[in-house]
Amino acid sequence: MTGKRSIRIWQAGVGVILAGSWQLAVSAGLLDKFFFSRPSDIAVRVWDQAVSGKVWPHLWTTSLEAMLSFLIGGALGVLSGFVLARRPFLSAVLDPYIRVANSLPRVVLAPIFLLWFGLGVWSKVALGVTVVFFIVFFNTYRGVREVDPAIVSNARMLGANERQLVRHVLIPSALSWIFSSLHVAIGFAIIAVVVGEYLGASMGIGYSIAQAEGVFDTTGVFAGMTVLAIFVLAVGALVQRLERRLLRWKPPQQGSADL
């Protein structure tokens, strides 16, 4: 009973049970429909929004913001991770500042970014970047530092110069670390931009959730969450495909279920 098929069946089963008991609890009057809505209502709402086209501009804005913060934050994170891992002195000097910056709760930055970058896309991107950057940065740093010293020595003895060492040894070696951070980073990028939208925007899923909440439309709030969840899963699957392509040299890991 551990085949891919049976895992899929059980996964669907868990979902059906969760949604089903929610639905039943509301029908039976155990949960108040006003506060908890109903899976069937939420599904209808998501469908309506998709068909009427109301959801797409919001989803587009959110995904644009998430992608931009992911790309900018990821690029900055990989770059600084590499530089600091290769320059121990610099990393020692900057260490306290990085810690301080990383320990800041991002939500408190949102109002500042709203003031600096306005209600549009860029204030959300800025918020997303501050989240993505640190996740990718720490993983890249660690990935580069934990390269097998024998492999580095071997490449150097075979005549690799600094640039070749980075390209042929350090980047590939750090890649599995970077990838594991990308999974997390994508999720956090979306959370950050949605929080940004929620606090002040004119567009986006976070904005639409805030709007629904403003009129006590629980179904609208859950519909927004559902759209987000589907989006996060789709993007995650995409990253995983890319990862599988780029890390095909890795021995298959034991017990890694196909999630």
């Binding site: 097998d148 024998a150 492999i151 020595s153 071997n154 490449a155 150097r156 003895m157 075979l158 005549g159 690799a160 110069n161 070749q164 042929h168 040894v169 590939p172 070696s173 890649l175 890390l247 040299w249 890795k250 021995p251």
Partner: protein, 280 residues
């Protein structure tokens, strides 16, 4: 000179090479490490070694005697704290560009195929793809890995990975091959076969091999000369022995030959003392 009771026991005779510039001259080399506790640990103290060009020399010693440290110094992977190292007469500064290194652990790049790994030295030298593929394919055949060109290291057995590493090292055509217990992770029989292949790849090339091992039998079977390092810390050369077993040698059966055993007994007398000094 004369440190650490350096002596030549008359197992064999030296002939011919004395006037030629040695491949490697290690003079009065000391190497210290700072332990995490802050103490200074002296790995090698005032070591003198001379390795003749074209010879196969093994460095043997009890565990922790600084064999690998010495090899890393010769490779230029680590600097000596005092003393000097000369390679074909030239003072070594930085990496030893005339040497290739075979590591004890797997040091193939896991993200590159066998072909890419073997060709790595050429890639670093800027040779174009088709030229390096041709050369690498030839070496892959010579080490008996035909058909595994596009396999990744994790798909190979331990012995096959060592074959690939051997091809990788030989392909850059180094004057010196430094080998740090390259076969110690293999089972006895695979190891015997790899030793034979190493010797047949090496013989007639004029390359100098420095082979670190803790296994005296392996050292004698392969080498022209065996250097014994004393027990650490502050190891020095405890003895040098030439091995005059005729070549080509049949490595599969050589250990049963009386002459081999005679050589073994002589060298073991020195090594034995060092082994017994080691705290285990």
């Amino acid at each position: 000179m004369g440190s650490g009771g350096r002596r030549r026991v008359g197992v064999g005779r030296w002939n011919g090479w004395v006037q030629v510039t040695p491949a490697i001259q290690v003079n009065g080399v000391t190497r210290r490490f700072a332990k995490p506790s802050g103490e200074v640990f002296t790995a090698l103290s005032n070591v003198d070694v001379e390795i003749a060009a074209g010879s196969f020399v093994s460095i043997v010693g009890p565990s922790g005697c600084g064999k690998s440290t010495l090899l890393n110094l010769i490779a230029g992977l680590a600097p000596a704290d005092s003393g000097s190292i000369r390679v074909y007469g030239e003072a070594l500064a930085g990496l030893n560009r005339r040497a290739a290194y075979m590591f004890q652990q797997d040091a193939l790049l896991p993200w590159k195929s066998v072909l890419e790994n073997v060709a790595l030295g050429l890639e670093f030298r800027g040779i174009n793809r088709s030229a390096r593929a041709a050369t690498a394919a030839d070496w892959i055949r010579r080490v008996g890995l035909e058909g595994f060109d596009s396999s990744y290291p994790h798909q190979l057995s331990g012995g096959m990975r060592k074959r690939a590493a051997m091809a990788q090292a030989f392909l850059v055509d180094p004057d010196i091959l430094l080998m740090d217990e390259p076969f110690s992770a293999l089972d006895v029989h695979t190891r015997l076969r790899m030793e034979s292949e190493l010797v047949s790849l090496w013989s007639g090339t004029g390359k100098t091999v420095v082979f670190v091992t803790h296994d005296l039998e392996e050292a004698i079977a392969l080498s022209d000369e065996v250097i014994i390092l004393s027990a650490g810390p502050a190891s020095k050369v405890a003895g040098r022995f030439s091995v005059d077993l005729p070549r080509p040698r049949n490595l599969i059966d050589i250990k049963t030959e009386p002459r081999f055993q005679e050589v073994y007994r002589v060298i073991w007398k020195t090594l034995r003392e060092e082994v017994l000094k080691t705290h285990v």
